[in-house]
């Protein structure tokens, strides 16, 4: 046992968890913690807005599968990171958010920079701690990391009053602890996996729907083995994009509001679905009623509360999806099940896919979204990590940027947070410094967190912003063109900065690409430079994302480009 302050105990406990860096911004209420950075091996990465600190931690967490850590002071610092916390919660990303709080005796008195961040954050965290004495800090950290990264991962908030940071106590850093009401794992029911195999074998048009849980549990090899053994076409949710190589003959890509035509068509025709790690969000399946009417559903998920929440499953397997899929692979081997011949269903799937690859109408101009994103794909090494912002560019990425190495594509799919992609890319690059990291961005989204360029330059974290610049809030503009009779209110970005100069003013690199040749050069230059780069790509503000499944309709009611 050693006597130390709560702040020191926090750093020591985090070091024990393997934390190498945190993202944050200081203030009065977390100064004692900041003071400790001078005395420990944890690197502090300074942001310009706490929301970005949370997104960076999120990006780090999704890539490394270890909680990313962000720091903010009390009051406004704490409220600023809320969006980032809610974003991580919506996408089950592991994260630790550490906020300062006014001293215990001041809580509840509307003190300067006091906010009830525990009360505000509770609905959007997996758990929140507010240690009231210094001695509670080590166990809170230990439990916090455990909760954040196990089972269905999520954000954990540690709100630490200032006097708890400065007070000294005899510290015990526990190796063992008990959290009575927390059961992160269940063992998958083997009998149900067996039944699932039989159901798939006895269906005429079976399909796999892989969701974000497949990526979270890195169940890539298992997924591929099963798809190939049973000859099952694979569609994904948007969050599950890239859980299966998108250049694989059985891959159809994401379904949903902005899914691939072939994926939505095949999903709408299937009679049995093996749904893996998905919550069947409305964005993915359209109307819930229409979706489950014609389908037998096998649902695998780590979170028992997902079973039956949005869709009724005939067979449910609760447990880590990788563990469940491993059991399935083993059973398939034992029963020597390996389909080799092409079923009429697979033939039909392949024909449909080929048809849409040929016949989907694309933008006629040189700098159409499909061409731009395919160029990026062509030039990026397959292990590169891609994040996106939110808007049309995100959905074009869904449609035209094929993920080849599973688990290298991340987006704010649950909350749909503009401004997420760039800071998340910085966090991702910290987690994987040796691969190129690219944020596919729109100008509206990039404007929200572009000041993270300062962090990228100052902290030497060279990411690439691939900016599809239509000078408008494109996705909203598309909805206004489609559903509001072209009444274009509040979407013209009018006074956009010159993004090349903007990048340069931060000490980053800015390149404008107005033709395919320029784009080719720009990407190559960005890939070979060691400074953050913004590639500004002016595009047609009127280009729509199509196909499109309008909200409240079913996957078979797709709007196609005419």
């Amino acid at each position: 046992m050693e006597s130390m302050t709560g702040a020191k105990a926090l750093m020591t406990a985090m070091e024990k968890e393997g934390v190498k860096q945190v993202f944050g911004l200081p203030g009065g209420a977390n100064l004692p913690m900041y003071d400790e950075f001078a005395r420990c091996d944890i690197r502090h990465i300074l942001v310009r807005h706490e929301q970005s600190a949370a997104h960076m931690a999120d990006g780090f967490g999704r890539v490394s599968r270890k909680p990313g850590v962000c720091f903010a002071t009390s009051g406004p610092g704490a409220t600023n990171i809320l969006t980032g916390i809610a974003t991580a919660q919506a996408d089950s990303a592991p994260m630790i958010a550490v906020t300062g709080q006014v001293p215990v005796a001041m809580i509840g008195r509307d003190a300067f920079q006091e906010s009830d961040i525990i009360g505000m954050a509770n609905p959007v965290v997996k758990y929140a701690f507010q240690p009231r004495t210094a001695a509670e800090v080590p166990e809170a950290v230990k439990k916090g990391f455990f909760i954040a990264e196990t089972g269905r991962p999520g954000p954990v908030l540690l709100d630490i009053p200032k006097d708890v940071q400065t007070n000294k106590a005899e510290m015990i850093f526990p190796d063992e602890f008990k959290i009575q009401g927390y059961h992160p794992w269940a063992d998958p029911d083997i009998a149900n996996v067996e039944k699932a195999i039989d159901m798939l074998l006895h269906s005429e048009k079976p399909i796999i729907l892989a969701g974000g849980g497949t990526i979270i549990s890195s169940a890539f090899a298992e997924l591929q083995a099963i798809a190939e053994a049973l000859m099952l076409p694979v569609v994904t949710t948007f969050k599950g994009k890239g859980s299966f190589p998108e250049n694989h003959p059985l891959s159809l890509g994401p379904i949903g509001m902005h899914g691939h035509a072939e994926a939505n068509k095949m999903m709408a025709e299937a009679d049995c679905v093996l749904a893996i790690g998905t919550r069947f969000s409305d964005r993915s399946v359209g109307t819930f009623e229409a979706f489950e009417k014609r389908l037998k559903i096998i649902h695998m998920d780590v979170d028992p509360a997902e079973i039956g929440k949005n869709q009724t499953a005939q067979i449910a397997v609760v447990g880590d999806v990788r563990a469940s899929l491993r059991i399935m692979v083993k059973l398939l081997l034992q029963r020597a099940i390996k389909k080799t011949d092409e079923t009429p269903w697979i033939k039909h799937v392949k024909e449909t896919k080929a048809y849409w690859k040929e016949n989907l109408k694309l933008h006629p101009g040189e700098m159409g979204a499909a061409k731009i994103l395919r160029k990026l794909r062509e030039l990026l090494p397959k292990e590169s990590v891609v994040t996106t912002e939110v808007g049309q560019h995100q959905m074009w990425a869904s449609l035209f940027y094929d993920v080849i190495q599973p688990g290298t594509f991340f987006s704010s799919t649950g909350l749909g947070t503009m401004g997420w992609g760039f800071p998340a890319a910085i966090g991702a690059k910290v987690a994987k410094p040796d691969v190129p990291v690219v944020d596919i961005a729109g100008d509206g989204s990039f404007s929200m967190t572009e000041n993270s360029l300062a962090t990228a330059v100052l902290e030497d974290i060279p990411v690439i912003v691939f900016l599809l610049n239509n000078s408008t809030l494109g996705m909203v503009a598309q909805w206004q063109r489609t559903f509001y009779d072209r009444r274009m209110n509040g979407v013209d970005q009018g006074h956009c900065p010159d993004y090349v100069k903007l990048a340069e003013s931060y000490g980053a690199q800015g390149i404008r690409a107005q033709s395919m040749d320029e784009l080719d050069r720009a990407i190559k230059t960005a890939l070979s430079s060691d400074v953050a780069t913004v590639i500004d790509i002016p595009i047609d503000p009127e280009e729509d994302v199509l196909p499109f499944v309008a909200p409240g309709t079913s996957l078979s009611d797709m709007i196609l480009p005419s």
């Binding site: 997996k126 959290i179 028992p304």
Partner: protein
Amino acid sequence: MWAILSILVENKPGILFKVTHLFRSRNFNIDSISVGVTENPEYSKMTITTYGDEKQVEQIVKQLDKMIDTVKVEHLDEHKTVYRELSLFKIKLSNANDSMEINKLANAYGGKVHDVKKDSIMVELTATPDQIQAFEELAKPFGIIDVARTGVAALQRSGA
């Protein structure tokens, strides 16, 4: 369907808020709620009654179960459970007969009479929500001045 949920939680501040917030954020309704510490001071027990179809109730139970502060969540079978609610009724006395009539009514429901005044009387009734409802209907004609109800407390019968 009316459902009785018994929820064992850690006895820590803020948990009642989290549980009730869960109902709000998941679009479920609380019909009644009662909370009290258990024989072990580390835990509190909440009894929540709610309405929903089978799927909804199953989902509430799962969401409650998922909460880290909940130790045990049970959907109690109404027929294998003893459940009671305490209620207090302040009833108007308009004429000489009323007091006797209300006494009789209270007796019929196993209630107790308190605070008899010239123009009002208080009845304490511990019963199932249905019985309290029935009593209220019968007491209405006298004129109900005020009512307070505690929400249901419930325990499963042994061997059930």
